[in-house]
């Protein structure tokens, strides 16, 4: 490390004095500036931490919101024509609008509206970003969960109801446990999409990985290594989670075969 620092001092001094330096020397200097000078790698690590935290928060919001929306919409659809609950009808209508609006507008625009209009006075950009991602994800997750609930054989609901269990109990004890299994792979996918989408919160000043890279770019006037580094880190993260999900899915498939 110490020798690398010395090497850097020598070569960057050469570059500043306007002397001709080799491509290798240039590359080394830029790389050193991007990651090692002033322990900048710590900023990337911090950025990764925030990225993971934002992903986790957004996923949690998305799953809770998506679950509620899906359950209400399915319950509404499963009502008998002559026994429609007006409250359920209103809530279902609101949720339908929510899903349509979120899925029909770009995430970037949603982030800007949340960051610069609705929460314009908030300084906690990262959390506003996480909240926005969560609300966005909820719309997609609700469709995933709704699909999972509707894919459960209607005979299961009938069997539960014919035993005298009410709708909610049958949902909780019989339908939802079966839907969860079929929905988990798609939710895993949603997690990976969210992980990458966290980079978008930079536009409202959310301090995740890309934000850290931009900070370095602004100080060193060099963009190649910070951006390539960011891409590499995302790629590694995605590969790790894809691998974990694959392992998880295989275990799920195994327990399905019992």
């Amino acid at each position: 490390m110490a020798s690398m620092a010395q090497q850097y001092e020598v070569w960057s001094a050469l570059m500043k004095s306007g002397e001709e330096v080799s491509l290798w020397q240039q590359t080394f200097v830029k790389f050193y500036q991007a990651f090692l000078e002033n322990d900048r790698w710590l900023q990337y690590i911090e950025g990764v931490g925030t990225t993971l935290l934002v992903t986790a928060i957004a996923l949690a919001i998305g799953v809770v919101l998506g679950g509620v929306v899906a359950l209400v919409r399915v319950a509404h659809d499963q009502q008998r024509p002559k026994h429609r609950n007006p409250v359920l009808g209103v809530v279902d209508f609101i949720f339908k609008i929510y899903v349509t609006v979120i899925r029909g507008t770009p995430m970037m625009v949603q982030l800007l509206i949340m960051g610069m209009v609705i929460f314009a006075s908030s300084r906690n950009f990262t959390m506003v970003g996480a909240l926005t991602l969560g609300i966005n994800s909820g719309a997609y997750v609700s469709e995933i969960i709704r699909g999972g609930l509707m894919a459960v054989d209607p005979g299961q609901m009938e069997a539960g109801r014919s035993l005298g269990l009410n709708y909610i109990t049958t949902m909780i004890k019989i339908v939802i446990p079966q839907a969860i299994r079929s929905v988990l792979p798609a939710l895993g996918n949603e997690f990976i999409i969210l992980l990458k989408d966290t980079s978008l919160i930079t536009v409202i000043g959310g301090k995740e990985l890309l934000y850290a890279a931009q900070g370095v770019m602004n100080r060193t006037y060099e963009s190649m290594f910070p951006l390539l580094g960011t891409a590499a880190i995302y790629l590694v993260l995605v590969m790790i989670f894809t691998w974990l999900l694959g392992k998880f899915e295989r275990r799920l498939a195994q327990s399905d075969r019992r």
Binding site: L163, G164, L165, Q178
Partner: protein, 238 residues
């Protein structure tokens, strides 16, 4: 014990039941037959309101079955489906005990004991901790019957309980149903098993064109055929 009056049901203009009147007494074993699409399933499902009738009433022990107290009514009317509808994520024992325990008819210990006793009776005690997809069709259907029995129902409704089974498994299910009938269980059975109707039923009912056309004890039903459409129907299935 079950009194049906003027039961009507249509699906978007298609009149399936056009006013069915029927009384099912305690201990009756009623077999419903009729051409495909004549509304046998619809009738059965209107009894426990899996389908909502458009008109008419169903009385269980003199009390009208309505949407409001439907869960309590269903607890007294067990139903056995063509495709078993066991809960695949639960063990056999849990399949049987879930509803009685949840509805506080029994505590878990009593329900477990009852489940084991019933499984013992059908020779499947060793499957108590198995999951449904480890069982054969015949075993699944017998467990589905036991699941309904565990509720101590007053009547059992069967919708083609053997139609989804491989031929070699039909016998074991019919045997269990016979045993229940001999034990005095009130049963309403939709089936194409005419042998079962002849041997076990005390009434065989022909549903056609949305109403009850023939309602006779099996000896008469099969020997003394006046209804032309029943004649045609029987000539196809016998």
């Amino acid at each position: 014990m079950i009194v049906v009056k003027g039961l009507k049901k249509n699906y978007e203009g298609l009149e399936v039941l056009k006013g069915v009147d029927l009384t099912i007494n305690k201990g009756d074993v009623v077999v419903l037959v009729g051409p495909s699409g004549c509304g046998k399933s619809t009738f059965l499902r209107c009894l426990n309101r899996l389908e909502e009738p458009d008109d008419g009433t169903v009385l269980l022990d003199g009390k009208e079955v309505t949407e409001k107290d439907i869960d309590a009514m269903r607890a007294k009317m067990g139903m056995v489906f063509q495709h078993f509808n066991l809960f695949p994520h639960l063990t056999v024992k849990k399949n049987i005990t879930l509803a009685p325990v949840h509805l506080k008819l029994m505590d878990q210990k009593t329900a477990d004991a009852k489940a084991m006793e019933l499984l013992e009776r059908i020779g499947l005690a060793d499957k108590a901790d198995a999951y449904p997809n480890m069982l054969s069709g015949g075993q699944k259907q017998r467990i589905a019957i036991v699941r309904a029995l565990a509720m101590n129902p007053e009547v059992l409704l069967f919708d083609e309980p053997t139609s989804a089974l491989d031929p070699e498994m039909v016998g074991e299910v019919l045997e269990l149903m016979k045993e229940l009938a001999r034990g005095g269980m009130t049963m309403v059975v939709v089936t194409h098993e005419m042998g079962f109707a002849r041997e076990v039923a005390n009434r065989v009912i022909f549903i056609d064109e949305g109403t009850v056309k023939v309602d006779k004890p099996p000896q008469e039903f099969f020997s003394n055929i006046e209804n032309e459409r029943l004649k045609t129907f029987l000539s196809k299935v016998l």
